[in-house]
Symmetry: C2
DNA sequence: AGTAATGGATAGTAATACTATCCGAAATGG
DNA sequence: CCATTTCGGATAGTATTACTATCCATTACT
């Protein structure tokens, strides 16, 4: 399989594949001559993973590089690699100001309260803090709340259960890289799916509330 | 309150506020002289809404314009405005190919199966179809499945219930614009919050599965 | 044998989200 | 009252991102 075939089977233009090769998102094919290389279904899978991260997950090239570096680093244990990937997948926002610091402290308490095994420096804490700040800034909570994260207390058990089910779905037998890849792509793709489901539920609820039957 | 004060209280540079004014994301202040205008807390709220849409929600300027146009159009009923806003908030991906068409058909069946009141042309259907395609492309389902959306059947009732609770939290009494604004910003901010919670649950589950206690 | 495709390198591009500068007029502070 | 700052409005510039196009000598296909 040469680059043109890879382009054909993935639907990605050759120029873009070359770009991904240059950026290290796609590993080089095995060279057969000075200007020829062979690609296989590992590359096909990788292209699909890259596209899922970039377009479905909305990651930048730089973040995708970090995610894939963690996937590919065979010396890194599965859970560590997932942590690196998770950090890379968190959108980078301006996180200065006391509002954000307070929210982060709240999130830390939330994590401790539920004894969640989330790294102390995990970027996802910042992501939840961003949302907490947004909730306050945009006045989404009726009366002033002492701890915004208490809103989420009730749904933690169900979420953990769901996550455990999801983490357990890795096909067996699987290599380390496949495990990490599976978990990473599952994070972004199911996130889109759940978001879409929630939006559908919101539209349904909005119709029930404000529109004629 | 002049533009400098608006900048100070929102933390957004004057140049950026001027840009938002030009783009119609921020309504003009009431003019007090040929080169002076007065801004109030309506503008403060709007700036926060714009920032939440752009940065937290990751919308483009153009999409935020569409959302805000729906919020501001007083002739548009609440539910219709929410529909327009929802369509504008769906990420625009390449949606050609039979893979996508099949996924969309599956989504349509899903919507009908659960009798969800989602508009036939709602963009959110495409969003869920994107995820369904991603699930298949990236091989996230163990055995080949006849209908991917069946995965989500079990969680629909809980999601609808949650959505109903959320839609009902609009503060009373509230004007039409406030209702729409509340629902719209709730869509994006809670989405980030839930995504962050899920990611935390995933990290927790990953730790339980692959890391020492 | 001739056309097309390849790897590798370099350069160009369209879109996005601001940011900076200039202007003459109005506000502010001592 | 006068120097300094800020104002609204307009125009132009910029940094980044994610590709896309072109060139070249070499190799593959027919």
């Amino acid at each position: 399989m040469r680059i043109g075939d890879l382009a054909k089977t993935t639907g990605v233009p050759v120029a873009t594949l070359k770009f991904y090769l240059r950026e290290g998102l796609l590993p080089a094919g095995t060279p057969t001559a000075v200007n020829q290389a062979e690609y296989d279904d590992v590359h096909v899978r990788r292209v699909k993973l890259v596209r899922a991260l970039l377009h479905l997950g909305g990651l930048s090239i730089a973040d995708a590089q970090r995610v894939l570096a963690a996937v590919d680093d065979e010396t890194m244990p599965i859970h560590d690699a997932f942590g690196v990937a998770q950090d890379a997948m968190v959108p980078k926002l301006d996180r200065s100001g006391t509002r954000y610091a307070d929210a982060l402290a709240e999130v830390d308490r939330f994590v401790r309260r539920h004894q969640l095994r989330v790294r102390p420096g995990a970027a996802v804490r910042g992501m939840l803090a961003d949302a907490v700040v947004g909730l306050a800034e945009c006045d989404l909570l009726g009366e002033p709340v002492t701890d915004t994260c208490e809103l989420f207390d009730a749904m933690v058990p169900a979420m953990v259960e769901q996550a455990e089910r999801e983490v357990a779905t890795t096909p067996h037998p699987a290599l380390r890289a496949q495990q990490v890849e599976h978990t990473v792509v599952g994070t972004v793709v199911f996130e889109v799916a759940y978001a879409a489901l929630r939006r559908m539920a919101l539209e349904h609820a909005s119709a029930q509330r404000w529109s004629a039957p």
